[in-house]
Amino acid sequence: CLRALNGQPPAAPTPRVVEREEEEEDEELTLKYGAKHVIMLFVPVTLCMVVVVATIKSVSFYTQNDGQRLIYTPFPEDTDTVGQRALNSILNATIMITVIIVMTLVLVMLYKYRCYKVIQGWLFLSSLLLLFFFSYIYLKEVFKTYNLAMDYITLAIIIWNFGVVGMMCIHWKGPLRLQQAYLIMISALMALVFIKYLPEWTAWLILAVISVYDLLAVLCPKGPLRILVETAQERNEPIFPALIYSSTMVWLVNMADTDRPNRNSTEAASPQQEPQEVASPVPSSPSQDDGGFTQSWVSQQEHRLGPLQSTEETRREIQQMPSARPPVEEDDEERGVKLGLGDFIFYSMLVGKASATASGDWNTTLACFVAILIGLCLTLLLLAIFKKALPALPISIFFGLVFYFATDNLVRPFMDKLALHQFYI
């Protein structure tokens, strides 16, 4: 809520009345903007799922069983007995989950001990792999499916462009929409890889176990993901952009930053975003304190408005005015919502697997899709109520799994019987 910055500050009412008023206003705003955020996340999640389902349906490569497996899931599922298959899938899931837990712990440890270079290098390499290698395979399969000829030269140019612009958008700066599009695409690619290389029962087990793990990791006090989020908040840093989809870009105008060498830099974002609270300046020494305005900007302003007199006194005066703008943490209408890419990947994987292997075909796919969206809604509602980082996987995956198995085993035979007897309800 940006109140007008004009004229006199309002006469200060008693603190308690102000608090209660603010609380009520807060709640109203929370629910109102919670709804907006839900919509902002529906679109990308839907897009990701649409891409995955469309690929699964058209490109048969991703549903073929080549006999290849990931090294994380060494036990085959085409065994003789059901018992053996169940055992194998449980073992596979255990191995996979252990790998994921270990990697998460390593990541959190690295983050905690400030080994940023290692983390960035790792993220860089993995997005390199996704953007170049997996998209190369994807294109190859798409061309094969549609029986098109493609030469190496054009292909090299396409992949090079796609990859380089993708790396720039994800790791550095780029138009918001493009960055969101790239994140959706790499999530879809990753989900497709999982769908291809994870055998059936293993996949469902992994989905179930990972949502339990997500719940524990984010909510338990010692959970690694919770530690990660809290450390990031303490240090007032954004968590790696390569791992998180955000519906808007949060940017800070750093008037004076003690950590970074370039004091007067502003991290800018999409031009449509309106600036939020100006961080309170900490002048390091009187002589260097030009208030954070770069020299060129000051000269621009002087050219437009006439000579400025931004001195220590005027700045202090402005800062001492009661802040008519709410602090950054509560200003959530411009903030948007962030969703981790892992969530995208597992949602799409669930829907993709449902469309690939279900006997009920579109019924089951649509049911899972709706289930995931309902779960997402509920999660965002809880987020609006609790206002802290919440796991996005458990509710959606739980609903998704329930709907998948219910639809496949109960609804589909029911519908078939109805159609058989021409009985319309």
């Binding site: 029986n147 000829a149 493609m150 190496y152 800018a268």
Partner: protein, 104 residues
């Protein structure tokens, strides 16, 4: 007053960052230039002018030029390739990444 000023500053800084890398930087990146043209078109040509705008205009024009050049080259090559691929025999196969089944 305050808010407008910062928005302008933000726009500007971001534009400059993104455009600087385009013409000089990597070669063979028509997609990047396309993104530049599309994204900064409004900024360069439709907004009321400000001092930095001349620079931005120059960059957008250069990006558009590079883009057009690349589109022309690529279209020519792709047409030639698709048309003559079957006739080139071995060379055609060597160049091909995916070879369609059936009789051309």
């Amino acid at each position: 007053m305050h808010l407008i000023i910062f928005q302008w500053l933000v726009n500007d800084y971001f534009c400059l960052i993104f455009l600087l890398i385009s013409p000089g930087g990597f070669a063979f990146l028509p997609f990047l230039w396309l993104v530049n043209v599309v994204w900064f078109f409004r900024e360069a040509f439709l907004k009321p002018s400000y001092t930095e705008q001349l620079q931005i205009k120059a960059y957008v024009k250069r990006s558009a030029l590079g883009l057009l050049l690349w589109v022309a080259v690529l279209t020519t090559w792709i047409t030639i390739y698709q048309h003559f691929r079957a006739e080139w025999g071995e060379v055609g196969d060597y160049l091909s990444f995916t070879i369609p089944l059936g009789i051309p």
